[in-house]
Symmetry: C2
Subunit: 269 residues, 2 copies
Amino acid sequence: MKKTQRVGAIIKILSDCPNRTFGLKYFCDAFGAAKSSISEDLKTVKSIFSEMDMGFIETTPGAGGGVKMVPYISDEAIKELQAEICTRLSDNTRLLGGGFLYTSDVMFDPMLVRRVATVFTRKFQNKNADFIATIETKGIPVAVMTAFLLNLPLVVIRRESKVSEGSTVSINYFSGSYDRIQKMSIAKRAIVPGSKAIIIDDFMRGGGSVKGISEILSEFDVSIAATGIVMTNIEPQKKKIEDYISLFYLDSVDEDQKTIKVLPNNQIF
Amino acid sequence: MKKTQRVGAIIKILSDCPNRTFGLKYFCDAFGAAKSSISEDLKTVKSIFSEMDMGFIETTPGAGGGVKMVPYISDEAIKELQAEICTRLSDNTRLLGGGFLYTSDVMFDPMLVRRVATVFTRKFQNKNADFIATIETKGIPVAVMTAFLLNLPLVVIRRESKVSEGSTVSINYFSGSYDRIQKMSIAKRAIVPGSKAIIIDDFMRGGGSVKGISEILSEFDVSIAATGIVMTNIEPQKKKIEDYISLFYLDSVDEDQKTIKVLPNNQIF
């Protein structure tokens, strides 16, 4: 294999497995090349990434060391993404009555949630979390993409305890969005006690659901490293949780005027 | 930018956006390079992919044409994946009673479902489907990854009709797994009538749930192009649906002997 081929192959392998460390030996074996050649290739790969704004290459020296690709999204690309989603979400045919918006097409758009997940990855890359937690259903796509990009396991909290979950822990919490007591449930074996979670969800109004997630996780002595929300309702201004990052704010929904105002979070960078 | 850099950057861009066609102009603008240089670069990219077994490059000629990366997984890599998941699923601490197995950690493992999704992508690449359909909850991660790799939208069928879904169509169906009538519900605006779906789900016993999905979709004149299931119970041998691809078969669960027998589907290639 020629250098250009090896460099191309390394980029493909690292891009498909974000945040996963590969030892030099992996590439030596894969391409039948000497360590010195692979070292040179990796320098080239690193310089390509440094000029691209699409991720960067981190090298860990030593025997157990290696190289990994850390995803990245530039400020400019975040702004583009925000503008695109704002336009889509402001479409007044989304109005459903009761102040609800139809957002499933956005939250289930694989390429869009991947880009949103890259924003969360950029913000949470150094939080040293052990897993991503979300609650079914609409947050799952963005949570699974974030987990993929951070190379972390995903835990999905269920609304009901299912027979296929085995022994579970459940709590009741008040959901302001639905104005009633809701239940959430988690399989005991899904959690490593004492570990650190990042919470990802699609939407937050008062924060009851996210607070519920942190409460149910605290039953396992799990601490919350960070919280990422795709869209947050501006009201109530006082949320039940404090630390979170939201990509958008739902400013107002006017059913009479048929207008929806969605604002990008300009402080996210 | 040098050729090696451009080739590397093109590979990164195409790998991050599978099955998405990029015109030559996109790369000319991105790198400030002439069409002739980019043409040469793309030949190199194509030859790198052709030697790698990790996807291939498809070129569409003409004015609206361009280049895209089609994901691929080799027979050997599928066998490795099957062996790995079989080992994980055969662990007898997964036994939950009632013949149920705990599988959430596998179905929510982002890297594992991405590899499973690559198998479905390889099988369904040429089905000309318009969207991926799944039913909540455990099939969502593999469905979103398949949708991402095929560059298709995802539609998630809900168990209950939610206020945030707007106007819905619902059906009742008999679930053999749960031995009772279940409900499924779909937002009317989620579906383009007359389109073509690929159904993806995590587990199938009698096929009641998959048949339910195809029935609810037929309310919109949607036809089923293909069905991909991660694991299928061997019994009952006669399923309610005929055409499907399963990566594994759950052969037997013996609660007294505490054994689980999971078999790879050797006919999947």
